[in-house]
């Protein structure tokens, strides 16, 4: 059986590897190649320019702003989303009062909450962004109207029109729309933790906090780590782009005064508005590096001894 095994494996892997190479790796290589050209994206002609695009990028104030905002999103969003999701999942599965003899239970109505939390997931991010765009309308939007109703009519921020608030507004929307997914993910992870661990902890008189930090979190660590990376990549990539592009101020979003510009949006603007596709791919390469570095960092920092049970 042993010989022939290699051939079998190679045969089995060739097709998916070829597809992966063609549709995933090849576009990466192409982008890197284009970042050394002066391709406009509006005609098939271009020439090589060496590292010009890269030195231009390093001098580009707006690039640095977009990098700064993307990094902020990549740090803050996973922290808030994963933290909130862990809290919600714990309350839904473990955090409730004991009743009817069950050792652990979620809070009352937890199955209903699960649906409520998950609901934003079924909406397209574009719809979510549009909805919140109306909610943030300083004149007639839901938020300022609500403030008026409760007697806070004197506080009527411009929300997306205010450079100090705009990025926070965007982050709030992203948290709202993704937290449900992680609640469900962590709930599934918690379901696989044996109940007798909790029973033992309860017998020892552990409260909710101790239970969470000593049992739930360590046993859920792998899931949390994957969730963390996934959220970080969402924050660096497509989700942040859609929300910023649709909601914020400016011809293609990104404002006021570049206060919400993020790397994927800057790539889009350069490629599809300014006719500088080559420069856009250069920023894309920077985005690739940032994403890889983020994933590597989380893997490295999050490394733990695996628990077996």
């Amino acid at each position: 059986m042993q010989h022939g095994k290699n051939r079998f494996i190679v045969g089995f892997l060739a097709a998916p590897l070829a597809l992966y190479a063609l549709f995933v790796i090849w576009p990466f290589i192409q982008s890197i190649y284009y970042s050394f050209t002066d391709w406009t994206g509006l005609s098939p002609e271009f020439g090589m320019v060496g590292f010009d695009n890269y030195s231009r990028m390093l001098d580009d104030e707006i690039f640095w702003k977009s990098l700064q905002h993307s990094l902020t999103l990549a740090v803050v969003l996973p922290l808030v989303t994963v933290g909130l999701a862990l809290f919600f999942a714990f309350m839904l599965n473990v955090g409730g009062r004991r009743r009817r003899g069950a050792a652990i239970a979620g809070v009352r109505g937890s199955s209903f909450y699960k649906i409520v939390y998950f609901f934003p997931q079924v909406l397209s991010i574009v719809i979510v962004a549009l909805l919140f765009q109306f909610a943030y309308n300083p004149n007639s939007g839901a938020i300022n109207s609500a403030l008026k109703v409760v007697g806070l009519g004197s506080i009527q921020p411009d929300w997306l029109g205010d450079p100090d608030l705009a990025l926070i507004c965007v982050m709030a929307v992203l948290v709202w729309s993704t937290v449900g997914f992680f609640v469900v993910l962590f709930s599934a992870g918690m379901a696989s933790i044996p109940r007798d661990f909790y029973e033992a902890a309860l017998l020892d008189g552990a409260n909710r906090f101790t239970t969470f930090f000593k049992i739930t979190l360590p046993l859920l660590w792998d899931t949390v780590q994957s969730g963390w990376i996934y959220m970080g990549i969402l924050a660096l990539g497509a989700e942040s782009f859609a929300v910023v592009q649709i909601m914020t101020v400016g011809p293609n979003g990104g404002g006021p005064d570049y206060s919400t510009i993020v790397m994927p949006l800057y790539v889009y603007q350069k490629a599809f508005r300014d006719g500088q596709a080559a420069y856009a791919t250069t920023i894309g390469v920077a985005l690739l590096l940032v994403t890889l570095a983020f994933a590597a960092l989380v893997m490295k920092v999050g490394r733990r001894e695996r628990l077996e049970f």
């Binding site: 090849w26 509006l42 098939p44 029109g161 914020t248 011809p251 404002g255």
Partner: protein, 482 residues
């Protein structure tokens, strides 16, 4: 959850070894595959040009009467009906030709791959938020010179060329440097300060001609709980529609030309400073509708049609765009911007009017003659009237408003143009340097100032820096007023 450390040394392949080896295969296969396949952007032979037809009196451009025509239209504020009507005429004139018509709002998304593939359509209305950068298209030689169309006889009168029938400024706007005309603007937009004559009358006020009068009107409105101004806060590049002509009026045309030419210190001209301070005063005195910096163009227009604000800087498309929320007795009117005082260089009435809806014929179009012929049809008196009547905008065709019922805004626009006479200015930043005009000057500069977060002096310094950067940037093509 179990252990994943499966590295068995019992003669077989461990999971890790397998992964390592398959990764190695992947790494080798990537470059080899890569160099075999062609680059995405260099592939494709592009369009095969259709054979030319025979020129005749009825067919001065020599259109191939049987060749299909591919027409992509921006489906925006003006809709698509006017183009459909013009296509019907084309199909009637050339019964064997089929016109493929694609209305879209996503101009770049739809067309960029076709330009890269070398098979663009024959006629494009390159407009809207996703407009392709005209400067780049010209610089990359992707457009057909439309001079042949301009020198062809017009559809209505064989003794007149198409060029003779156009409004002043249209041909120049389509030139970038030198004689070739790359773009034909089909609509004729009047920019200025838009308001409800009815609301102004109810305040017992006249449209203010000087800035002191402007402040007085705003104060009057404020006492009645109406804001003086609102604007598209999320798109503050609407503000220049009235601000730039005001700068021209105060300091003369040369100031605007210097700005367009990206001359050093162009923004530091005293006229610019005076006008910025005038606008800033609106903000400081609370004459701007609250929350305006967070409103987009539709939201601000709605607040304005609801009578929450008196004035809005806008273009003549607003009559069609805001039609849904505009009360029937709104009595829409437009005026040239107010000046500062009697010492202004140009008289009251100086306003910004220029071509809108840029139509282009790609250089690699299969049926370029067909594209131009379709434009010739659209520039006939009948099609132009149809356009004006259905979308409430003037077209590039000079005249053609006789005998049709003009809507209030249009009527007011025609009157304002008449009053302006030769004093029409045409700043070019927004079609020469899109990013500079909209995002940098508009959002980051004027937008911040009007939100009250920067002083005029700071704003001018910031904008001058943006303009200097654009002047130095070798990746954008630079243009100059001739």
């Amino acid at each position: 959850m179990g252990s994943t450390s499966a590295h068995t040394n019992e003669g077989g392949l461990g999971r890790r070894d397998l992964i390592k080896r398959s990764a190695a295969i992947g790494l080798i296969s990537v470059p080899t595959m890569g160099f075999l396949s062609a680059c995405a952007s260099s592939g494709g032979d592009g369009n095969e040009k259709v054979e030319k037809g025979t020129k005749s009196e009825k067919n001065p451009l020599g259109v191939n009467e049987a060749a299909p025509l591919d027409f992509v239209l921006f489906d925006g504020g003006f809709g698509q009906q006017y183009a459909k009507d013009a296509i019907k005429i084309y199909e009637k004139n050339y019964p064997n030709a089929k016109v493929k018509f694609t209305p879209t709002q996503k101009i770049t998304t739809v067309l960029q791959p076709r330009f890269n593939g070398g098979n663009p359509p024959d006629l494009i209305d390159n407009s809207g938020a996703e407009q392709m950068d005209m400067g780049v298209l010209v610089g990359q030689k992707q457009l057909t010179d439309l001079t042949a169309l301009l020198d062809a006889p017009s559809l209505d009168d064989p003794k007149k060329t198409v060029r003779d029938t156009l409004r002043p400024g249209i041909v120049e706007m389509g030139q970038f440097d030198g004689a070739p005309v790359w773009v034909l603007y089909y609509a004729y937009t009047v920019y200025g300060v838009w308001y409800s004559q009815k609301l102004l009358d109810s305040l017992d006020a006249k449209y203010p001609e000087t800035w002191d009068e402007m402040l007085a009107v705003c104060e009057k409105a404020k006492k009645k709980g109406i804001a003086g101004w609102t604007y598209a806060g999320k798109h503050p590049y609407y503000l220049p529609f009235s601000l730039y002509p005001m700068i021209g009026k105060v300091g003369g045309r040369e100031v605007l030309d210097a700005i367009d030419n990206l001359e050093p210190k162009a923004w530091e001209h005293p006229a610019v400073k005076a006008c910025f301070e005038a606008y800033y005063e609106l903000q400081r005195k609370g004459y701007i509708l609250k929350g305006t910096p967070g409103l987009d163009h539709i939201q601000s227009q709605t607040a304005w049609t609801e009578g929450k604000a008196l004035f809005i800087p806008n273009g003549s498309w607003v009559e069609n765009e805001a039609a849904k929320t505009m009360p029937a007795d709104f009595d829409l009117a437009v005026s040239a911007p107010s000046g500062l005082d009697a010492s202004d260089k140009m008289p009251f009435g100086t306003m910004w009017a220029s071509g809108g809806e840029p139509f282009i014929v790609p250089a690699k179009a299969a049926n370029a003659e067909g594209g131009m012929e379709q434009l010739r049809v659209m520039l006939s008196e009948a099609s132009s009237k149809n356009f004006t009547q259905s979308v409430k905008s003037l077209s590039a065709f000079n005249g053609g408003t006789d005998g049709i019922e003009l809507t209030p805004g249009l009527k007011s626009g025609v009157a304002a143009l008449q009053k302006a006479g030769q004093n029409v200015v045409n700043p070019r930043l927004q079609d020469w340097y899109v990013a500079l005009q909209k995002e940098k000057i508009g959002v980051a500069g004027i937008g911040e100032m009007m939100a009250g977060r920067a002083t005029p002096a700071e704003t001018i310094k910031k904008i001058q820096k943006f303009a200097d950067e654009a002047a130095k940037d070798t990746s954008i093509k630079h243009y100059k007023h001739q």
